[in-house]
């Protein structure tokens, strides 16, 4: 009967350790803890039950089997964990690369075209860069400060805004709603954290693209 209590104790210990994954919303944390607890339990199991087997051969077989079982499970779990991390990093990298390229085309390109437009005007018609930009993109500038991209974003991920900092400076900015940036702690303009954010600044010297996160 004592052995049954020992079994039930092991089951509850593993369940308790695994439940940590609910707190962190991460199954790998719970799995690692539960695996560690199970190995500890197997150590006690060895002293309490395996050690008491009368046949030395049986004791050896059980110990070899347990070492093989835990060793191979640990090895395979590490490979699976690395694979999951690799996949996540790859997908994040692809997403960020796509968003980075789109945001440059949606912000840097129109600002360069505004610069070209400004310089193409006869000197008597050149008022300011901000005027040249507004004349060229009037229909894409919304009254709430948002900038309408050339190609609509079907995922609703990219939020573009514009600001006229001075007559000779125009700023276009982008903040995403789910594409991750480099720093997970970065506070974005839309009050979310860790997301991609960038801005492009137009001055008479040209366009400067700055990735903020």
């Amino acid at each position: 009967m004592k052995n049954h209590y020992f079994l039930i104790g092991g089951v509850f210990a593993v369940l308790a350790a695994f439940s940590v994954s609910i707190l962190f919303d991460n199954l790998w944390i719970g799995f690692s803890l539960a695996f560690g607890v199970a190995v500890l339990w197997l150590g006690l199991f060895d002293r309490k039950m395996v050690n008491r087997l009368r046949d030395a051969g049986n004791r050896t077989i059980v110990r070899v089997v347990l070492i093989l079982l835990t060793g191979l499970m640990l090895g395979l779990s590490i490979v699976h964990y690395q694979r999951a991390i690799q996949q996540d990093e790859t997908l994040t990298n692809i997403r960020t690369t796509i968003i980075h390229s789109i945001s440059r085309m949606e912000m840097e390109k129109p600002l360069l075209l505004a610069l070209r437009h400004y310089h193409s005007l006869p000197s008597e018609e050149q008022t300011s860069l901000a005027d040249a930009f507004q004349n060229l993109y009037d229909e894409r500038l919304n009254t709430d400060g948002s900038w309408m991209p050339e190609t609509p974003d079907d995922d609703d991920d990219m939020q573009f805004t514009y600001s006229i900092a001075s007559p000779d400076s125009v700023v276009l900015a982008v903040t995403t709603t789910f594409t991750r940036g480099e720093d997970p702690e970065f506070l974005n303009n839309n009050n979310q954290t860790g997301l991609y954010q960038a801005r492009a600044v137009l001055t008479e010297r040209g366009v400067r693209y700055e990735r903020e996160n």
């Binding site: 079994l7 092991g10 089951v11 593993v14 369940l15 695994f18 994954s21 609910i22 199954l27 790998w28 799995f31 539960a34 199970a38 190995v39 339990w41 197997l42 199991f45 039950m49 008491r52 087997l53 009368r54 051969g57 049986n58 077989i61 059980v62 089997v65 347990l66 079982l69 191979l72 499970m73 090895g75 395979l76 779990s77 490979v79 699976h80 964990y81 694979r83 999951a84 996949q87 996540d88 990093e89 790859t90 997908l91 994040t92 990298n93 692809i94 690369t97 390229s101 440059r104 840097e108 390109k109 360069l112 075209l113 610069l115 070209r116 310089h119 991920d157 991750r180 040209g206 693209y209």
Partner: protein, 256 residues
């Protein structure tokens, strides 16, 4: 006396041989029947039982689904979390707690019993789970390890290729800006672009970047490639060519 010991030690392996044979025959039949149907041959080993016996498979699959959902901006259903959590904890309990306990319980019964040939079901159940688990781990590890190294190379190639695309875009915008400004201002040799004059240009160990053609101040084509041949073979976009047309509204575009 020595004969009796040898007989006992050889008999010790008979139940294991029976279990290994049973598991092998069951797996063989399962393989035969699944490969006779439309089921993909590569998944024949990946059935529900193995999924429970190998709990990290379940968690890896959940993690990948979560990453894919994040990529598309959607949340992973909480049901999927609970299902994966349930299956993986069940697997841990069966493989690392219940099966060893049953095996040792079986051995205790065998040692207490006067008839050593008596079938002890609890021992067979525990041994069967352990044989399935150990053979699954060995099979999956041997299949995954070579793939793992290959995947790492492919990922590195993709990253390097993404980096090249980003650099090419930097250079294309710089060149475009230079050509726009130089066509209107006095920049000395106006319109002629050399890579060294572009702010984002530097010597890259990994990339070979050159100007392919320049037609006055209207068209400039630049091309970049990966220096590492191994990465170039693994990468889908080992050569990136961009055309800069500062007089057109398209401004810059990828040729390939």
């Amino acid at each position: 006396m020595s004969g009796k010991i040898n007989q006992t030690s050889s008999k010790r392996w008979i139940p294991w041989a029976i279990v290994i044979l049973l598991v092998g025959v069951t797996a063989g039949l399962h393989y035969y029947f699944t490969t006779q149907t439309m089921i993909d041959k590569s998944v024949w080993w990946n059935n529900l039982m193995v999924q429970i016996v190998v709990p990290s498979t379940e968690i890896m699959q959940y993690s990948i689904i979560e990453s894919i959902n994040q990529f598309g901006g959607s949340e992973t259903e909480s049901d999927e979390f609970w299902l994966s959590a349930g299956m993986s904890v069940l697997g841990l309990l069966i493989v690392l707690i219940l099966a060893p306990w049953m095996l040792v319980k079986g051995y205790q019964s065998m040692e207490r019993n006067d008839n050593p040939d008596k079938l002890i079901p609890v021992w067979y159940a525990g041994a069967a789970v352990i044989v399935v688990a150990i053979s699954s781990y060995a099979y999956l590890l041997s299949a995954l390890m070579p793939q793992h190294d290959e995947n790492k190379t492919i990922i590195e190639a993709q990253r390097t290729s993404n980096e090249l695309q980003s650099i090419m875009m930097d250079l294309a915008f710089d060149a475009s800006e230079f050509m726009i400004l130089s066509s209107k201002k006095d920049y000395g040799n106006a319109g002629v672009v050399s890579l060294e004059t572009l702010p984002s240009y530097r010597e890259w160990e990994k990339f070979e970047i050159s100007i392919q053609e320049q037609l006055g101040d209207s068209i400039l084509t630049i091309s970049g490639s990966l220096r590492d041949e191994n990465l170039a073979i693994k990468s889908k976009d080992s050569i990136v060519t961009m055309r800069i047309t500062p007089m057109k509204d398209k401004l810059i575009y990828y040729v390939n």
